[in-house]
C-alpha cells in the first residue's frame, strides 16, 4: 500500500529536526504531530514521549527526520540523519527533505527489516498529505466514530483512516501544551509553538460558571418544587394546567433551564452542543419577548388594542347573526326542513347573544388584562404566543360549542346509517322493523339540515384551528432552532465537519505526490437535522389525513392535547 504521511502545514517552514507522531499500520499512514529541533538529548526525548504516551493514550513515537536546508543535504548530514534511525528505532523510518525556498519535496522510506516477499517496483511510494493542525484538532466528524479501544496505539481496523487521523490529533493535546517561550528540555514546533491560544473571557466564564450554576440550579429546584406541590394536583387546577398550552410551554422551558444549569458536566460534545443550543434558544426567546414588550408598552398601543377589541367582537357577532339568518332562510337554494331549521337557528342565535353580553361585561377590564398578559412576554416570546393561542381558544369558545353540537347531532343522526341490511335480516318482519324504517326515513330527511349547519360551523372551527396551528408552528420553531450550531457553521465552518476534501498541489514527475487536506463543512440541512432540539408537543399534532377523517366522521377536534396523543 502507498505510505501516506500526514504533515501539518505549520511545520512546513520549521527548522530541521525529528518527526514526532503516530504510525497507524492498518492504513499505512504516518501522522506527524510535531517537529523536534536540534539540539536534543535522546534520553530526554524518550522521557518526554513516554510521558505524552501515558497522558494521552496515543502511541506517539519518533517517526523519522525532517531536513529543511539551503541546498541538497551533504553526505555527512545524510549519514547523521540515517544514524538517528539507530537511536530511535522505528519501522518504517521516514526521511523528509525540503529545499529552503523550493516547492518540491523528497521522501525516502527505509525498512529496517527485509520484507518477507520481494516488493513490487514502486511499492514504497510515499504520498504527502498536508493538514491544518488547528482545524483538525478543533473539528468534529459527523457521524461521530466511536473508538472503543483506548489502549495506547490500538485502533479497531473497522474505522476509516481519516477518523484515526482526527482522533490522533484530537487526543494529543498534551503534546501541544508547551510553546517556544517555555524553558523545557526539548524544542517542539507545532500549531501552538508561537504561543498557546487562550482567551481571558473564556477563563473568567469558566471560573464564574461554578457558583452561578449552583445559585441558579437551587432557584430552579425551588420553582419546580412549588410547581409540583399538592395544590396543583387537585382537580380542577390539574385539568386546566394540562389543557393550556401556556403551562406546557412554561414546563418545557423550566426543563430546559434545569438541564442548562445542572451541576453535571456534559459527557460528550453532543450533550455540550445541546446545552449551549438550549441556552441560545432561551436567550433568543427572552430577547424577542423584551422587544415585543417594549413595542407594546410604547405609545399606548395596549390602549389602542383594547379599544379595537370590542368593536371587532361586535362585528364578528353581527356577521355570525347574518350567517344564521341566511341559514334559516333558503341557503343557496336548498330546501331545508322549516321547523328544525328555525329551532337550530334560534338556539345558536341565543348562544351568540350570550357571548356578546359576556364580551361587553368584560370590556372595562380588557386593557388591564392585556397589560398583564403583555408582561408575560418578558418570560419569552414563546410564552406570550402560547398565551395568545389560549386566549383565541377561549374567545372562540362559542364557535367550538356550535361545532360540538353540530358534531353530536350529526353523529346521532348518522347512527342509523350503521344499521344496515344485515340487522334488518336478523330482525325479521315485525312491528319493530316498521317503526325502525319509519324513524330511519324521518331522520334521513332531517340529515341535510343538520349536515349544513355542521358544515358551516366546521369551516369556522377549521379557521380557528389554522390560526392556532400557525402560532404553535412559530412557537415550535423558536423552541427547536439550534441557534448555536447554525452560528458555528456560519462563522467557524471547520468545527462541524461532514468529511474532508483533497486538492492536488503542484506536481513534478519523480517527486512524491502532494495533497492538501481540507475540512468539508456539514451542510446546513444536516446541522438542523442533527442538532435540532426536541419540541414539547404541546399542541394537537394530528396529521392532515387524521384531521380529515375526524371531520368526515364527526369526531371532535379538541383545541388542546388529549391524554392519548403522547409526543416525545
Amino acid at each position: 500500500m502507498v505510505l501516506k504521511a500526514f504533515f501539518p502545514t505549520c511545520c512546513v517552514s520549521a527548522d530541521s529536526g525529528l518527526l514526532v507522531g503516530r504510525w497507524v499500520p492498518e492504513h499505512s499512514s504516518a501522522v506527524v504531530l510535531a517537529v523536534l529541533h536540534f539540539p536534543f538529548i535522546p534520553v530526554q526525548v524518550k522521557q518526554l514521549l513516554a510521558q505524552v504516551r501515558q497522558a494521552s493514550q496515543v502511541g506517539v513515537a519518533v517517526l523519522g527526520t525532517w531536513c529543511h536546508c539551503r541546498q541538497e543535504p551533504e553526505e555527512s548530514l545524510g549519514r547523521f540523519l540515517e544514524g538517528l534511525g539507530a537511536v530511535f528505532p522505528h519501522e518504517p523510518w521516514l526521511q523528509l527533505c525540503r529545499e529552503r525556498g523550493g516547492t518540491f519535496w523528497s521522501c525516502e522510506v527505509t525498512h529496517q527489516q527485509a520484507p518477507a516477499a520481494p516488493s513490487a517496483p514502486g511499492e514504497d511510494q510515499v504520498m504527502l498529505i498536508f493538514y491544518d493542525q488547528r482545524q483538525v484538532l478543533l473539528s468534529q466528524l459527523h457521524p461521530p466514530t466511536v473508538l472503543p479501544d483506548r489502549q495506547a496505539g490500538a485502533t479497531p481496523a473497522s474505522t476509516g483512516g481519516l477518523a484515526a487521523v482526527f482522533d490522533t490529533v484530537a487526543r494529543s493535546e498534551v503534546l501541544f501544551r508547551s510553546d517556544r517561550f517555555d524553558e523545557g528540555p526539548v524544542r517542539l514546533s507545532h500549531w501552538q509553538s508561537e504561543g498557546v491560544e487562550a482567551s481571558i473571557l473564556a477563563e473568567l466564564a469558566r471560573r464564574a460558571s461554578g457558583p452561578v450554576c449552583l445559585l441558579l440550579a437551587s432557584l430552579l429546584s425551588l420553582v419546580s418544587a412549588v410547581g409540583a406541590c399538592r395544590v396543583f394536583k387537585l382537580w380542577p387546577l390539574s385539568f386546566v394546567g394540562s389543557k393550556l398550552s401556556t403551562c406546557e410551554q412554561l414546563r418545557h422551558r423550566l426543563e430546559h433551564l434545569t438541564l442548562i444549569f445542572s451541576m453535571r458536566k456534559a459527557e460528550n460534545s453532543a450533550q455540550l452542543m445541546r446545552k449551549v443550543n438550549m441556552l441560545a434558544s432561551v436567550l433568543l426567546d427572552v430577547a424577542l419577548g423584551l422587544t415585543l414588550l417594549s413595542w407594546l408598552h410604547g405609545r399606548s398601543r395596549i390602549g389602542h388594542l383594547a379599544d379595537a377589541l370590542v368593536p371587532v367582537a361586535d362585528h364578528v357577532a353581527e356577521e355570525l347573526q347574518h350567517l344564521l339568518q341566511w341559514l334559516m332562510g333558503a341557503p343557496a337554494g336548498l330546501k331545508m326542513n322549516r321547523a328544525l331549521d328555525q329551532v337550530l337557528g334560534r338556539f345558536f342565535l341565543y348562544h351568540i347573544h350570550l357571548w356578546i353580553s359576556y364580551i361587553h361585561l368584560m370590556s372595562p377590564f380588557v386593557e388591564h388584562i392585556l397589560w398583564h398578559v403583555g408582561l408575560s412576554a418578558c418570560l419569552g416570546l414563546t410564552v406570550a404566543l402560547s398565551l395568545l393561542s389560549d386566549i383565541i381558544a377561549l374567545l372562540t369558545f362559542h364557535i367550538y360549542c356550535f361545532y360540538v353540537y353540530g358534531a353530536r347531532w350529526g353523529a346521532a343522526l348518522g347512527r342509523p346509517w350503521a344499521w344496515g341490511p344485515a340487522d334488518a335480516r336478523r330482525a325479521g318482519p315485525s312491528p319493530q322493523l316498521f317503526i325502525g324504517t319509519l324513524l330511519f326515513t324521518i331522520l334521513l330527511f332531517l340529515l341535510p339540515t343538520t349536515a349544513l349547519y355542521y358544515l358551516v360551523f366546521t369551516l369556522l372551527r377549521l379557521l380557528v384551528v389554522a390560526v392556532q396551528g400557525l402560532i404553535h408552528l412559530l412557537v415550535d420553531l423558536i423552541n427547536s432552532l439550534p441557534l448555536y450550531s447554525l452560528g458555528l457553521r456560519l462563522c467557524r465552518p471547520y468545527r462541524l465537519a461532514a468529511g474532508v476534501k483533497f486538492r492536488v498541489l503542484q506536481h513534478e514527475a519523480g517527486r512524491p505526490l502532494r495533497l492538501l487536506m481540507q475540512i468539508n463543512p456539514l451542510p446546513y440541512s444536516r446541522v438542523m437535522h442533527t442538532y435540532r432540539l426536541p419540541s414539547c408537543g404541546c399542541h394537537p399534532k394530528d396529521s392532515w389525513g387524521a384531521l380529515c377523517r375526524k371531520l368526515f366522521f364527526g369526531e371532535l377536534i379538541y383545541p388542546w392535547r388529549q391524554r392519548g396523543d403522547k409526543q416525545d
Binding site: 502507498v2 513490487a120 511510494q125 476509516g160 483512516g161 468529511g499 492536488v504 468539508n520
Partner: protein, 188 residues
C-alpha cells in the same frame, strides 16, 4: 500528463473531458458541461417582462414592473448558485479514496469524498430516464454488516450525463487503479 477530448451527452450537447494523470496512483477526470446559453436567458427574461407588462396594463400598478425585475434577478442568481453545474470532477487516489466535486456557475463547489475502505467497485449501470435508457457510471459501497452486500449506489457525473464512450474511458482508468489497490491491499 494532461489531455482533453470532446464527447457528447445524452441530449447531444458538447462535453469536454479533461484527464490529468498526476501519478500512477492518482488520476483526475474533469467534465465540463455546456455553458448557460444567451439565447435561453434572453428568451426567459423577455417572457417574464412581457407577462409583467401585460399585468401592468391591466392593473396600472408600477410595483408589478419592479417586482418582475427583482424576480428575474433573484431567479437568475438562484439558478446560477443552486442549479447550473459548470464542471464535474472525479479524483481517484489509490489507497485514499474517491472524491467527486461539482462546481456551480456562481463558483460554489460541493465536494463528496468516499474512503477507499468503503468502495466495493465502480461499474457502468443502465437506467430508465424519462423516455430513454441511459448508461451511467456509479460507485458501489460496501455493506458493513454483510460482506458481499452493497449498501449504497452513488452515481457519478449526474448532471453532465455523458454517453457510453466517455464512460468507458473513465471506467477503464478507474479499474486500473482499483485493481492495483486490491492487489496491494491483499498482500501484507
Amino acid at each position: 500528463m494532461e489531455d482533453e477530448r470532446s464527447f457528447s451527452d445524452i441530449c447531444g450537447g458538447r462535453l469536454a473531458l479533461q484527464r490529468r494523470y498526476y501519478s500512477p496512483s492518482c488520476r483526475e477526470f474533469c467534465l465540463s458541461c455546456p455553458r448557460l446559453s444567451l439565447r435561453s436567458l434572453t428568451a426567459v427574461t423577455c417572457t417574464v417582462w412581457l407577462a409583467a407588462y401585460g399585468l401592468f396594463t391591466l392593473c396600472e400598478n408600477s410595483m408589478i414592473l419592479s417586482a418582475a425585475i427583482f424576480i428575474t434577478l433573484l431567479g437568475l442568481l438562484g439558478y446560477l448558485h443552486f442549479v447550473k453545474i459548470d464542471q464535474e470532477t472525479l479524483l481517484i487516489i489509490d489507497s485514499l479514496g474517491i472524491q467527486m466535486t461539482s462546481s456551480y456557475a456562481s463558483g460554489k463547489e460541493s465536494t463528496t469524498f468516499i474512503e477507499m475502505d468503503k468502495v466495493k467497485d465502480i461499474v457502468i449501470n443502465e437506467a430508465i430516464y424519462m423516455q430513454k435508457v441511459i448508461y451511467y457510471l456509479c460507485i458501489l459501497l460496501k455493506d458493513p454488516v454483510e460482506p458481499h452486500g452493497i449498501s449504497q449506489v452513488v452515481p457519478v457525473f449526474q448532471s453532465a450525463k455523458p454517453r457510453l464512450d466517455c464512460l468507458i474511458e473513465v471506467y477503464r482508468s478507474c479499474q486500473e487503479i482499483l485493481a492495483h489497490q486490491k492487489a496491494t491491499s491483499t498482500s501484507p
